[in-house]
């Protein structure tokens, strides 16, 4: 029930925020923040929810929805879900904060869209019926499209359209794959089912299994994103308003990684095993290629977007290595990258709203003018490049450690990404915050340092990253039962598969 509540609070909060605009255009942001805070607190109670008696699941809920196709309204949460839910609500609040002063037009509708996107994301993280999952997967698209299309920057139509087309078309492929699974359940067990636990038992087999797996893989790796499906991301990020970028980088990308962990691999263990070398190669290409491309950008938001793709490569590498260290690393990277990328986008957005440019060639020497902002930026850049003691390091280290057991050459190549990450991160700091002041390119009086409200948000994210870096065990403990459960389930299938082949 609590899971329904989580989604309902955001849906209702969104509508309230929209309506409240008529009373006062400052009211929606308060409503949004309160709704997210309620959600956050509700999620914390999930941690003590205890055992539902069903393995690693903390809560499960099932109700009939469309009996004709065996579709049910089924939600569930395990440790992995809870971590991602907490990240969602936390970054939701951060996004609210970053939009606080930036969004001045049609505030009610903006917070409506923000909350509905997040409601969709929470739905994606908790849905255990594949139809429902797909439903939420698409539901989070439209409000995000609107956020980019209405409050975006100069080229918003193109970016919003590209974002929508990429995700929707690949989503359709996934829908076909889901239907293939449901149909094979019909053949093998006599009834349609979209229930995750039922579909785990379905064995499609052969070429069709590979194709069905690819449907999932393409949908998720577009969202992740991974080369070659990544080209929507830099456009979407550079055109989205700051809060949109925060949500996009921090939360929406993680739905892709979550989908791979929860659905793509466990539902098709055999096909995934065969496909793993290709996926890991794509991951390595993402890491290296996008780090290189990031270095070539002058638009600071595009640069951060490409680094996101590069970092998500480690996630994909970890997932397809499919052992406990690698998976833990992938999850830690998801969490840590969520915070660091969100913070970097907020900084870039903050700069843009102050000096109205994202072009790094116009920037320089900001440290003297805005020391607090510069220090914060330095911290998050260092976090992103994988400094030990911060969350990103733990994640990437574990992912590499796990991947090493799967493929030594690919891991060695991926590790080079860490060097490239240091190069571009420090290069940004050098270019923007050091060097000469190019004051004639913008109105210098607009450049003001971080306010108290902004500092609070950054402090919260810094705290989170330090916690992840210093005491990752508290996160690992939460996700390990869920990940171990999935590893065991797929291992059994792998054993039976080899037995059949013998």
């Amino acid at each position: 029930m609590i899971l329904v509540l989580l989604i309902a609070v955001l849906f209702i909060g969104g509508v309230l925020a929209w309506v409240a605009e008529r009373i006062d255009d400052k009211l929606p942001r308060v409503i949004a923040l309160v709704a997210l805070l309620i959600d956050f607190l509700l999620m914390l109670t999930l941690l003590n929810a205890g055992d539902s008696g069903d393995g690693s699941w903390l809560v499960l809920l099932k109700a009939e929805w469309m009996p004709r196709f065996g579709i049910s309204f089924q939600l569930g949460a395990d440790g992995l879900t809870v971590l991602l839910l907490l990240l969602t609500a936390f970054l939701g609040m951060i996004a609210c904060g970053s939009a606080w002063d930036e969004i001045k037009e049609r505030t009610g509708f903006f917070y409506f869209n923000l909350l509905w996107t997040l409601a969709g994301v929470i739905g994606v993280f908790t849905a255990l019926d594949l139809f429902l999952f797909f439903f939420f997967w698409e539901v989070m698209l439209i409000p995000m499209y609107l956020i980019i299309a209405i409050w975006g920057h100069e080229n918003k139509n193109y970016a919003a359209m590209k974002f929508f087309l990429f995700t929707q078309v690949t989503g359709m492929l996934m829908l076909v794959s889901i239907l293939i699974l449901a149909y094979f359940h019909f053949i093998q067990f006599g009834a349609f089912s979209f229930d995750y636990f039922d579909l785990l038992n379905v064995n499609v087999g052969g070429k069709l299994e590979m194709l069905a797996m690819l449907g999932f893989f393409i949908a998720f790796s577009t969202k992740l994103p991974s080369v070659p499906f990544h080209s929507w991301l830099p456009d979407a990020h550079s055109q989205a308003p700051t809060a949109g970028s925060v949500i996009l980088a921090g939360v929406l990308l993680k739905t892709g990684a979550y989908g791979l962990i929860r659905f793509a691999v466990p539902l098709f263990p055999e096909a995934s095993m065969n496909f793993a070398p290709i996926a890991m190669t794509l991951a390595v290409i993402s890491i290296l290629y996008c780090a290189k491309v990031a270095f070539a950008q002058t638009d600071i938001k595009r640069l951060i977007a490409y680094t996101s793709v590069s970092h998500m490569g480690f996630v994909m590498l970890g997932i397809y290595a499919w052992n406990i260290q690698a998976l833990q690393g992938a999850v830690m990277t998801m969490l840590a990258h969520g915070l660091s990328a969100a913070a970097l986008f907020m900084l870039a957005g903050g700069l843009q709203s102050r000096i109205h440019t994202r072009d790094m060639n116009d920037m320089g020497g900001f440290w003297a003018r805005v020391p607090r902002m510069s220090a914060v930026a330095l911290f998050f850049s260092i976090a992103a490049l994988g400094m030990p003691g911060l969350g990103n390091f733990v994640g990437e280290f574990l992912a590499l450690l796990g991947a090493f057991q799967a493929s030594i050459p690919l891991t060695a190549l991926a590790a080079l990404g860490l060097i490239l990450a240091s190069v571009y991160s420090l290069w940004v700091i050098q270019k923007v915050f050091h060097g000469e002041v190019k004051a004639n390119n913008f109105d210098e009086s607009l450049l003001s340092d971080l306010g108290r409200r902004e500092l609070v948000f950054y402090a919260a994210m810094i705290l989170g990253l330090v916690w992840m870096g210093m005491y990752p065990q508290s996160f690992l403990n939460l996700s390990s039962p869920a990940l171990n459960g999935m590893l065991e389930a797929t291992a059994q299938v792998a054993v039976t598969v080899t037995q059949v082949q013998l």
């Binding site: 196709f69 087309l165 359709m172």
Partner: protein, 493 residues
Amino acid sequence: MNLTFSDLLPLLPLLLVTATVVVLMLVIAIKRSHFITCSVTVLGLLVAAIAAMVLLPGANQQVTPLLIVDQYSLFFTLVTCVAALFISVMSYPYLLQLDDHAEEFYLLLALATIGAIVMVSSNHFISAILGIETLSMSLYGMIAYPIHSKNAAKYPLEASVKYLVLSAVSSGALLFGMALIYAQTGSLEFSGLAEVSAAGTGSLSGVNESFYVVALMLLSAGMAFKLSLAPFHIWTPDVYEGAPLPATAFLATIGKAAMFVLLLRYFVAADALSYESVVSVFSLIAVLSILAGNLLALLQNSVKRILAYSSIAHMGYLLIALIATNFIDGTISVEAITFYLLAYVIMSLGAFGVVSVVSSSAKESDAVEDYTGLFWSNPWLAVIFTGMLLSLAGIPLTVGFIGKFYLLAAGVESGLWVLLAVLVAGSGIGLYYYLRIVYRMLMPAAESTGLRHRGSESAGSFGILLLLLFLLLLLGIYPAPVMSLIQSISIFI
């Protein structure tokens, strides 16, 4: 053969609509009043719809050899009557500004409804042709209706003549096909072909299979014309654009749905898809329609033309489910067609409704630019339009998504992978032009553009649009009751 009262009872909806036509003629003859005429039409259609709804459970009766009144035909009778009712309510404000008599439009509309009801209840070539012609004849008039109006901006006469000529050609093809089948089987019933070919595998060696195939091709071509499937689609955008909006809405929703039901009934009854060549031709038509409809819609700047091309694509999607009927035993593909037709009627009606609300017979606002900033100047209307467009694009929360889900399910079950790939690609392209309109509505309204003209907004048509939006969302979020209804009526096909 004597008709008794119990024979006629199942025909009640049809008789009620016919009575409405008679009453309308008398009313117009006695006193010309736009409002009274419209009210009588609405009332008549409402009573007919209620009659269909009451008769629906348990109905299954062949009334004369011509008409079959089963739950399936009554379901579509209900859909037809309700859709016609909605269209007549939305016609009223649209026709208010017409500088000519508006009353006869409702007469034609009710007549066209009779044709549609006959089409969905027919399992005999005679009633099929009667229904098709009644519908088409009335539509010629409806399309050309504002012809004497001085300020009709579009080209109703061109549209009407175009429709008349092509419709006559397609009827010719249909009749030729029917004649060929009659020559072979001696029967005008839909199932005649299947019975003879089932019995005649050896004994009736005089019957030639290639003869059937030619006949089926002619029938298919005629029906494809009416459904505006590629490559028989050329008339569609011109007619849609030239016709007054209520006529376009009628043609696009009821006209298409009734024709598709007829096609479905015939193909299942005659087992037409058991001929391999028919399957390949229909697969080709489906692919062409989806690609042509979606690609050509990209180039359009008129909302009416965009909707015309998108309707071509949607008919192509539907053909996939029709082809699937041949490959699977269950009723899933019939259910898919039924649900998708219902969804299509709802969303097209809504989309044309929005356009007709901002238009009037004097000035039709159908350029994409006209909708700039609608989100901020008239949020409710924009929300309705966005809902309809996203539904046409097949986005969840809307009925269009469930419809597409049905089609995909039918396609996956029958393993039509190529057609499914085309469907996915087509929906991807489709998104672009639907979103283009949505984006226009989101843009800040400039002084020079936007809807300066208030159009024919009225409480009645606005209420209808809200009702359609409600249906769109209800069937998109909780379709289970309708799903089980459709499952139970689909066994009658």
